[in-house]
Amino acid sequence: MTWLETLHTAWTAVHTHTMRSILTALGVLIGIAAVILTVGLGLGTQQNVTAQIDALGSNLLIVSPGSSTSTSGVRGGFGTGSTLTLADAEALQSKVNAPDVKAVAPQKSTELSLTAGQENWTTSVVGVTPSWLAVRGRSLSEGSFITAKQNADQADVVVLGTQTAEELFGTTRVVGQQVTISGQSLEVVGVLASAGSNSSSNLDDMAVVPISTAASQIIGGTNQDSVSSVYVEATSQSTLSAADQETTNLLLNLHGIATSTDADFTVSSQDSLVSTATAVYRTLTVLLTGIAALSLIVGGIGVMNIMLVSVTERTKEIGLRKALGAPPSAIRWQFLVEAAILGLSGGILGAALGIGSALALPGVIGSPIVVSAPAVAGSIAVAVAVGLVFGVYPVARAARLAPIDALRSE
């Protein structure tokens, strides 16, 4: 018996019970669609998170004042202390002490109200040095960025985010306009190119001023040298952990602290953010895929059930085929291929449903779903395997039937 004939016989059997076959395949179909969707959702979210974190600037370390591992009452909470200063940032720029640090961008930020003519807008005002633009991976759509000279001169200049410019002026062509912050009039010299928003902040809604201006005239405070965070860019992705070490050691030294557990600052990397986020989404994906896999097993049991019915129903046919000279292997293949066809059609229809939903759903749920070719091919293969695995028992029963008993059955 050739393959084509086995296939034809099995197909005829599936085809003669169209409704039953469809219902059987439905179990597998739902399982496969669920697997494709959950894997796609996991992948999509992962890509989304990675893209957002990439947008923050790669190879980046963030030094924040205070300790997140505070054990005594003396130190302030995370981000609240004023232990980080401009001097620290300058020291980090030393190629001798921190050879793997490419650039350093200290910043001082707070929420303040901006005024332009009749318009008011409250946003985050960030005092920075010229290196900020490169370190944060930003660019300008209008005008120019804060220069070293402007920073040294405590110049009254400001660079706006696109949304901030829109809110204040209704346009982004605002170079040369005046903005008032904390009673200080500043000239708009540039507008940042749009960078979208990440999960924690809107990157297009901010006002960037020289850090010297911020310290002396806008934000003020008791310690004008203190900064709210220092962004440290490593020379490359591979030197990120070296840069982390150098930063930590240098700052411990400068602050006269002996052990890193007593540090009055915290160094965190984008990597750690990425891996935390990724780990969370991976756990979620595994969980969802587990549920989807469960539904596949249920679908497989459906296939087994129907195959058992099919074998019982056709006991006489099996007996006749054996009497006419079908060896057990021919019977085995006939039913195995039948089970595989049920699995395969469930798999293909399930993949179609999964891909269709992946295209339609993001508009509804707002999360991207990435359909990966390996996931689709893999799940169709799994569907066929489900058919085969759950077909084995019924098929073995069919092949074992004694021809006389089978022929006598009614």
Binding site: M1, T2, E5, T12, T16, K316, E317, L320, R321, K322, A323, L324, G325, A326, P327, P328, S329, A330, A402, P403, I404, L407
Partner: protein, 251 residues
């Protein structure tokens, strides 16, 4: 014609029977219960024979049919089919023997309802690995032989009982088997169809086929050259008028 028949006659006289049962016994076990269906049967059937096995139900004639058809194996004794010992063959080899050497005709016709007459007749050749064009040609010939050349495409449900049984006969002879085994082939047919089928068997016999007919009807058995009476798992008596039996007994 005389020349053409010589090989058959020669085979018969050389003492090389197509079917030979020697002290054949079959015991069925069901838990602690034992049932002796065959209690030592000796049987010889020569090439070209037309033999009827008759007996009441429970006499063991169905068991003989199953043994002869290699659907079941003996508990003791010996069964030689066409010079080959059938004992100790595994399932695959038994399947091959059923495929090549035996053509079955059943009381229930046993055609596959989803297949056309032509495909039903093709089925044994599918398992024999005959290529499709050859299969179709031979199946068509066999159906023409039983007078159904016009009904190739019909499914069993579209045929009368007699026509279905003729399809079954076509299927039985299409592989040119050593013997045709018919188990109550007329049990489900009316008298007209019964006569039809029996005439067909007569023709097959005249053409030199070896036929074993299992029946409980005397008038059906009368068509055979020789009758073997079975009762309680034993051969009762042979038809003394039959010259074949005389020869077999003399040996």
């Amino acid at each position: 014609m005389a020349e053409a028949q010589t090989p058959v006659a020669g085979a018969a006289t050389s003492g090389d029977p197509v079917i030979e049962l020697v002290d054949a016994g079959k015991t069925y076990r069901s838990g602690s219960l034992e049932f002796e269906a065959l209690r030592g049967i000796d049987l010889r059937i020569e090439a070209g024979d037309y033999v009827a096995v008759v007996g009441p139900s429970g006499s063991g004639k169905s068991t003989i049919m199953n043994i002869l058809g290699c659907l079941d194996v003996l508990s003791r004794g010996r069964y030689r089919l066409g010079g080959q010992d059938v004992e100790d063959l595994d399932e695959v080899e038994l399947a091959r023997i059923r495929n090549r050497r035996i053509g079955f005709v059943f009381q229930q016709f046993n055609l596959l309802p989803s297949l056309s007459a032509l495909h039903n007749v093709e089925l044994p050749m599918v398992y024999a690995g005959v290529a499709r064009p050859e299969r179709v040609r031979r199946a068509r010939e066999a159906l023409e032989r039983v007078g159904l050349g016009e009904r190739l495409r019909n499914r069993p449900g579209e045929l009368s009982g007699g026509q279905q049984q003729r399809v079954a006969v076509a299927r039985a002879i299409v592989t040119e088997p050593t013997i045709v085994l018919a188990d109550e082939p007329t049990g489900n047919l009316d008298s007209v169809a019964t006569r039809d089928i029996l005439t067909l068997f007569d023709e097959l016999h005249d053409a030199g086929r070896t036929i074993v007919l299992i029946t409980h009807e005397a008038d059906v058995a009368a068509h055979a050259e020789r009758t073997i009476q079975v009762r309680d798992g034993r051969v009762l008596e042979a038809d003394a008028a039959d010259p074949m039996v005389g020869r077999a007994g003399a040996r």
